[in-house]
């Protein structure tokens, strides 16, 4: 381990490169270049310009902000549920509305907040952390953002029309099927899936390509920052898991819309087929939410321990193996469906063993703290509280992996408590910490420490008040998804406590929000690297310029900013008057070629609109698919149509024959 802790120093510099100052590094030259780059990489201004942004930082900011707006919606819904359940036989909302609300809450938090916000942070920070000038396929990422935005608008528009989905975020047939799922509610859920999957998949592909091909020269696989590793792994999980739910929900739509029988047992279908496919996606999704948070933990702990995180290899392997095992545990959501016990128990084994990689990371982090010189700003406090709350969720997870125990607590408030400890404890705590941590880079201002501590304290207390008693409620027999309960069940007292806790938690989050709003205006100006961190996103100004880095950087270790960055060679020779990006090799990030990246364009927005129209049309008629695809095709042609640099075919041909154009393979 320690041998390749990534600290190998540069060897003797290439004799070819001059020892006397390189003219291109002359401050005046750089100054002019930076101005030129700023105009080259600038996103267009004005109303229409606003719809044409392709800068990953602009898209990333919108992505993050939108995700938090949806988070707020989901939180409001949760508050209403807690009001309703605060005492037995309460009548704040009707059964019908309650069922919509808990469905919307789950759907919002999973599909419109948790997964998108993680991908969003990836969109903003992955290119910065690997020293790239842009994200791969910037227009595709913009398209992904618009689809995500429209997904939320679509869902909440129908919810406000009182046709929000009401079958749970898992929407099992036959309850959601043509016979029992009246109206359009289940279709809206299924189509929302299509929206969000479209968004998630394109962003995932862009992130994979970015990490593989756009890393700063010298950033070999063993030098990739752990957060980037996590985002890479998560993107792969997205690519392999989301198709399952696409097929599942498509089958549901077809059953409802054109009368197929995928899930209709009377015609040879099977409702468990849906459950299998849904959870084949659904469980990996939990890790899609969780692994980036682990990456944030490693990042923050390293920074605030003033040392590289201990056990880089172990942590990376843990992330990778968690991802794989995450694809082999889905049946533990179906233990009560009467599958053969032997088959189920294989999934018990995997569900129990998946704890180990996370345990390894815990131990590595504790080792990091053990040998670090610690500082305790708010992000670090979030990281430390993560240990406590997530641990509870992880341990109850072990219990749920046991078939017999699961049969008792499955679909009770015990499970509700468990996965809120895992998702809020495991993801939202690190996420809120990471927002504190990266806020200076995102906005150029620091968040207030004082207010931050207050928010965390209330959030922490409120969270545990809310969710710990739910374990007991579950064991006392309180099922999930009930809109009320009778007094004689004796659940009233704990539920009141839970609701009070939810109130405290809400206040904490409101203070957090207040902190952000205030600091945006009056926060202290942030230095380039306010935390004295080691990763590349801190090597540029806060917030970064449109072109991210000048001069472009190279690395020779895992913690570039802690390893004499000034002696690191820098990249020169990228043209400033066009969007030049250096493409490097997958394994060792050796420079390969320069690629000219696309200009801003409004076509991704237009395409997203046409696609949304098609999705919504297909809610009502299968022909929406046919007619809807025509405008999409037109939009895509507009998107792909070359502008500016294109030549007449004859001219290009002439250039080629004259040898003025040569691809890499032919350069000899």
């Amino acid at each position: 381990m320690s041998r390749d802790a990534g600290l190998d120093r540069p060897r003797e510099v290439d004799p070819a490169s001059p020892r006397e100052p390189d003219p291109r590094l002359d401050p005046l030259i750089l100054e002019r270049e930076s101005r030129l780059l700023a105009t080259t990489w600038a996103d267009p201004k004005g109303f229409f310009g606003w719809f044409s942004h392709v800068d990953h930082k602009s898209i990333g900011r919108r992505f993050i902000a939108t995700a938090f707006v949806y988070f707020t919606f989901g939180g409001i819904l949760a508050a209403i549920m807690r009001l309703q359940l605060s005492r037995p036989e309460n009548h704040i909302v009707t059964a019908d509305l309650y069922n919509q609300i808990f469905t919307m809450h789950g759907t919002t938090m999973m599909f419109l907040f948790a997964v998108p916000v993680m991908l969003a942070l990836g969109v903003y920070f992955v290119p910065l952390m690997i020293g790239a000038r842009a994200i791969a396929f910037p227009r595709l990422v913009a398209f992904g953002y618009w689809m995500f935005l429209f997904a939320g608008i679509f869902l909440y528009a129908f919810f406000l029309l009182n046709v929000g989905p009401d079958n749970g975020w898992f929407s099992y047939p036959p309850l959601a099927g043509p016979e029992y799922g009246a109206g359009k509610r289940a279709d809206i859920w299924a189509q929302l899936i299509t929206f969000t999957e479209t968004s998630g998949l394109v962003v995932a592909v862009a992130l994979i390509t970015t990490v593989f091909k756009l890393r700063a020269p010298g950033m070999a696989l063993n030098r990739i920052p752990i957060f980037v590793w996590a985002m890479l792994v998560v993107s792969f999980m997205t690519v392999f898991s989301m198709p399952a739910v696409v097929i599942a929900s498509t089958g549901l739509i077809l059953d409802r819309l054109v009368g197929t029988h995928f899930y209709n047992y009377a015609e040879g279908g099977d409702s468990l087929l849906f459950q299998h496919m849904f959870w084949f996606f659904g469980h990996p999704e939990v890790y899609i939410i969780f692994l980036p948070a682990q990456g944030m933990m490693s990042t923050m702990l390293a920074t605030f321990s003033r040392r590289p995180v201990f056990g880089y290899l172990a942590i990376v392997l843990s992330i990778v193996s968690t991802a794989f095992i995450g694809f082999g545990v889905w049946v533990h959501h179906m233990f009560a469906t009467g599958l053969p016990q032997l088959g189920q128990s294989f999934f018990t084994a995997s569900s129990i063993m998946i704890v180990v990689p996370t345990g390894v990371q815990f131990f590595c982090w504790i080792a990091t703290l053990w040998t670090g010189r610690l500082r305790f700003p708010v992000p670090m406090l979030y990281a430390l509280s993560f240990f406590v709350v997530f641990l509870v969720g992880g341990l109850t997870g072990v219990m749920l992996a046991a078939v017999p125990l699961d049969l008792q607590v499955h679909d009770t408030f015990f499970v509700v408590a468990h996965f809120h400890y895992v998702l809020i404890g495991g993801s939202v705590f690190p996420l809120l910490g990471a927002i504190h941590y990266w806020f200076p880079k995102l906005t150029g201002r620091m968040l207030s420490e004082r207010i931050g501590v207050a928010a965390l304290a209330l959030f922490f207390v409120g969270f545990n008040l809310t969710f710990f008693p739910q374990h007991i409620l579950g064991l006392m027999g309180m099922p999930r998804r009930i809109y009320t309960y009778q007094p004689e069940t004796g659940w009233g007292g704990l539920n009141l406590l839970v609701s009070i806790g939810a109130g405290v938690m809400t206040i904490g989050l409101l203070i957090y929000l207040y902190n952000i709003i205030v600091s945006l205006r009056r926060g202290a100006a942030a230095a380039d690297n306010p935390w004295d961190a080691s990763t590349l996103e801190w090597a540029t100004s806060s917030p970064p310029p449109a072109y991210n880095f000048l001069p472009a950087l190279t690395v020779s270790g895992r913690d570039p900013l802690w390893e004499h960055p000034e002696s690191q060679p820098v990249v020169v020779g990228l043209h400033a008057e066009q969007r030049d990006v250096l493409v490097t090799h997958v394994m060792d990030a050796e420079p390969d070629h320069r690629k000219v990246f696309p200009e801003p364009s409004i076509w991704p927005f237009i395409t997203a609109v046409t696609v949304s129209v098609m999705y919504i049309a297909t809610l009502f008629t299968p022909w929406g698919l046919i007619w809807g695809s025509i405008p999409i095709t037109i939009a895509l042609i507009g998107w792909a149509w070359p502008r500016g640099r294109g030549k007449k075919p004859s001219e290009l041909d002439a250039d080629i024959r004259a040898g003025r154009v040569r691809p890499l393979e032919q350069v000899q």
Partner: protein, 199 residues
């Protein structure tokens, strides 16, 4: 400032295969859609496993048109390969030629595909079997049509312009995607036409 530099100004500005990020984008699409095909095939086998007899109360699909289409697809890999190679050699004329021929195969395929649907011997809303075979075949057809339209636009560009060097990469990637469409068809063919005949 006296600093070593890494000069990349001499590097070329486009490349083929996995060295170009477009290849990774295409691969991403291929993996995603490949996984969807796999899921549908799993769904088919799952339903088959739960049904006492398969296909339930039907004759299996007629072999003729499906097999004809398989042959067309396999044959189409030849012009497809030549298109790809021409693109990698930046040979505009050959690219135009072979791509047009490859498109011809595409047309033929789509026409035969209509007869294929007819020869399935089942309607999609009769039972789960009908639903899954129609979805499989329809999903694959959607890919054929998508790639077909894509190729048409690309070919039009190559004739009327404006084009740039990177369009040769697009052509190469387009051919790679066609390979995927062909390869993914083979397991689907096996599932739709062979599986009902083996119990």
């Amino acid at each position: 400032m006296n600093r070593a530099v890494l000069d990349v100004s001499e590097l070329p500005d486009f490349a083929f295969h996995h060295r170009n990020i477009v290849w990774w984008g295409t691969m991403g699409m291929i993996v995603i859609e490949g996984t969807m095909f796999a899921m549908l095939i799993v769904a088919y086998l799952y339903l088959k496993g739960r049904s006492p007899h398969w296909p339930p109360g039907h004759f299996p699909p007629m072999l003729l048109w499906g097999t004809v289409n398989t042959l067309i697809l396999l044959a189409s890999t030849v012009p497809n390969h030549l298109t790809k190679r021409a693109a990698e050699h930046l040979d505009l004329r050959k690219v135009r030629l072979w791509m047009t021929i490859a498109l011809g195969f595409g047309v033929a395929f789509n026409i035969v595909r209509i007869f294929e649907f007819k020869s399935l011997n089942v309607w999609f809303d009769e039972n789960a079997y009908g639903s899954v075979v129609w979805t499989l075949l329809g999903f694959h057809t959607a890919h054929i049509i998508t790639d077909f339209v894509d190729s048409c636009v690309l070919l039009a560009l190559l004739f009327i312009g404006p084009i740039e060097e990177s369009h040769f990469v697009d052509v190469a990637e387009n051919s790679m995607y066609w390979y995927f469409v062909v390869l993914s068809w083979i397991p689907i063919y096996a599932v739709i036409y062979i599986a009902p005949r083996v119990s």
